[in-house]
């Protein structure tokens, strides 16, 4: 295996975006396959980030710069991945539910899911149930993510899941929920497939639900 993979992993671990992009370009110039650059270099680096986060050696601000570096590398890699027909980890449709204007938490999850190798379609905030249904029809995601910050808006998650069920699409997607007011018991009660308590655990959850963990 090329020594470049390890250097790409390290650049991502250190959160050095410029270096990551340079190294990915160098790897491609040397003719290394895009899929292997992704798996052995970039995803390996982000996995290490996740492992260190779990044991308390890295914190959210560190994970975010690593995710930024992952993005920087992906921007270089993406055309090669598309031309060689390689699929990303999976597709996620993500939105903050109706009545809720809080999208910082959702944006963090998006960024970190992209960093982990997902394609993320962000449908914004104050998204009503029908818009979720339409987005599922249009993008055919593996996972749908919903966010709510407020105890007054978390019920909209239940309404959205009901709308997805009624549209007949519930079996085609896994649903994950998160946000300050939500907990695992609530997620189960409304029929979601999983709950993430913070952005990095949201990434783990998405991987599990997409069957790539």
């Amino acid at each position: 295996m090329s020594w470049l993979y390890e250097r790409i992993s390290t650049a991502i671990l250190e959160g050095d975006s410029d270096k990551t992009a340079d190294l990915v370009k160098k790897a491609l110039d040397e003719g290394l396959p895009a899929k292997e650059v992704l798996d052995n270099g970039m995803v390996a680096g982000m996995s290490e980030v996740g492992a260190r986060f779990k044991v308390g050696e890295m914190f959210v601000p560190d994970v975010l710069v690593s995710a930024d570096s992952m993005q920087a590398g992906l921007n270089v890699l993406r055309p090669y991945l598309i031309s060689s027909g390689v699929k990303l980890l999976g597709k996620i449709v993500m939105g903050t539910v109706k009545g809720d204007l809080h999208d910082i938490g959702k944006n963090l999850v998006n960024m970190m899911c992209e960093g982990a190798g997902f394609e993320v379609i962000d449908i914004g905030f104050d998204v009503d149930p029908q818009q979720f249904v339409d987005a599922i029809k249009e993008h055919q995601p593996d996972v749908v993510g919903m966010s709510a910050m407020l105890t007054t808006t978390m019920r909209a998650m239940a309404h959205t899941i009901k709308a997805i069920e009624e549209s007949g699409l519930r079996t085609t997607v896994k649903i994950m929920v998160g946000g300050a007011s939500v907990d695992a018991a609530f997620a189960e009660r409304i029929g979601a497939d999983g709950y993430g308590s913070n952005a990095p655990s949201g990434v783990d959850l998405a991987k599990r639900l997409a069957g790539v963990a």
Partner: protein
């Protein structure tokens, strides 16, 4: 460039005004001049008399000029050295620097395996020293007990011999008399690399506690003289109990306790000018029905703040008290009493705060209490560090660049500061319910016991020099011979 700009570094705590402190200081000088102390040591009385003290039988009275001169001579700042020279474990005594450590002489100990109370034995000493060595917020070592399974005159010597190899943090040593103190000193000097090297970087402090009220015993002064002549930094600190062996009022106990320490100070500075000398002690209240001196009372915290402020006003470092409790077990009372005294001790800048890990009013030493208090000290140190104000910490530019509805998690400013601005708990739990539940729903006590056992299973203190190990064997053998002959 700023002009007329004042910076407060850390949280400021001040109980007494300069006027009040001057009144207390005058009170101490008055007691020493007119009442005096009974001094049960012939040579000490001679030395003091020759220097200008008035001696009448056992009673020694000190003219204020003599006391003031000794206050001038004693240093406010000095360094205690880590045994192995690791500067991280040095203690820099000086204004605004609070340090913490256990206490001595508890008859009982909480067994770390059974968690039951039983007599303190020789094999407990390395346990306490290893835990002290591993804890980030414990700065010096004491044994947390009196060894019950050796000849009683040799308990303190065995404690030192057990602590010294198991921690490189400076040790506060006790002794029974000048003979075992000589043994302790021989061990410390061997490791330091000779008397001259020891004097530059003393790796232990000697502590003795003269009884209240107003007595300097033969043993206390005999050890003080030995230590002073060998330039061993000294703690000379009584344990007056308000309403019993000292006045019932906080101001009164502070005056009497200071007078008791300053008699020793005056003697020590005559014998060894400039000797590092620490005053203070345990000042507390007597249970007016139980007659037990309280270790978790708010008055202890107040009285210790009082003697700290008076000592600092007079230019002396203080032997503070905190992290201790009257509770019999590791419970909510133990944590409330321990944490509050630790916080105030940190805020007073108590130079060496001892008795961390005392439970049952100093009758039982507990490494569980010690480990829990390590957490409380870390917490308190974050508070006493205060808020730093400068161009960068004001963050006006960062606020502008993030703006409404943004977030700060990706800012370089956040990454630059979040590790130092925030305190990260070791034992306190801040996880959400699901994670806490998944990790076994542990209580503070569960996590504390686990930490103690983890330290004992994994922590390896830095080794002694081989020559010192030989000296320890020799000193212990000689001491056993000596007490056999008596």
């Amino acid at each position: 460039m700023r002009a007329n700009y004042r910076v407060n570094s850390g949280v400021r705590f001040q109980m007494l005004s300069d006027d009040q402190l001057q009144e207390l200081l005058n009170g101490v000088l008055h007691v020493l001049e007119y009442t005096g102390l009974d001094v049960y040591h012939d040579e000490a009385r001679e030395i003091l008399e020759k220097a200008g003290a008035r001696v009448d039988g056992l009673r020694v009275r000190l003219p204020p000029y003599l006391v003031k001169r000794s206050l001038e001579m004693a240093p406010r700042s000095f360094t205690l050295g880590a045994r192995d020279g690791n500067a991280k474990h040095n203690i820099q005594i000086g204004p605004g620097r609070a340090h913490f450590g256990p206490g001595p002489t508890c008859p009982s100990f909480i067994d770390v395996d059974t968690l039951e109370r039983r007599p303190y034995v020789k094999s407990d000493v390395p346990i306490v020293a290893k835990v002290v060595d591993a804890l980030p917020n414990i700065d010096f070592c004491e044994s947390l007990g009196t060894v019950s399974d050796v000849q009683h005159k040799l308990g303190a010597l065995y404690e030192f011999a057990g602590m010294f190899p198991n921690t490189n943090k400076p040790i506060v040593a006790r002794s029974h008399d000048r003979f075992d103190l000589a043994g302790i000193h021989e061990i410390a000097v061997a490791e330091a690399g000779g008397q001259a090297a020891f004097e530059k970087r003393p790796n232990y402090v000697h502590c003795s506690e003269p009884p209240s009220p107003l007595v300097s015993t033969f043993e206390a002064l005999d050890k003080l003289l030995f230590a002073a002549r060998h330039r061993v930094p000294l703690i000379f600190a009584p344990c007056p109990v308000a309403g019993g062996t000292a006045p019932v009022t906080a101001a009164g106990i502070v005056i009497q306790g200071a007078a008791e320490s300053w008699m020793g100070l005056t003697l020590a500075q005559i014998v060894q000018p400039g000797l590092p000398f620490i005053v203070g002690g345990v000042y507390s209240v007597m249970g007016m029905s139980s007659m037990i001196p309280a270790y978790g009372a708010p008055e202890l915290v107040l009285m210790m703040a009082g003697i700290s402020e008076l000592s600092h006003y007079a230019g002396l470092p203080v032997w503070q008290t905190g992290g201790c409790t009257d509770a019999k077990t590791f419970d909510e009372q133990a944590i409330i009493e321990g944490s509050l005294s630790v916080l105030i001790s940190a805020l007073t800048g108590g130079d060496l705060c001892h008795d961390v890990g005392y439970t049952e009013s100093a009758m039982t030493g507990s490494v569980l209490q010690l480990v829990a208090m390590d957490e409380a000290i870390g917490y308190s140190r974050r508070i006493s560090r205060g808020i730093e104000v400068n161009e960068d910490t004001l963050a006006v530019d960062v606020i502008h660049s993030v703006g409404p509805n943004g977030h700060y998690l990706r800012q370089a400013h956040t990454r630059r500061y979040f590790r130092n601005e925030f305190w990260y708990p070791n034992l306190c739990d801040r996880r959400n319910y699901e994670e806490w539940s998944m990790m076994g729903k542990t209580t503070m006590k569960d996590r504390t016991v686990a930490r103690v056992r983890d330290i004992l299973a994994t922590h390896r203190p830095s080794p002694l020099k081989p020559v010192t190990e030989k000296v320890i064997e020799k000193v212990l053998a000689e001491a056993e011979e000596r007490v056999k002959k008596e």
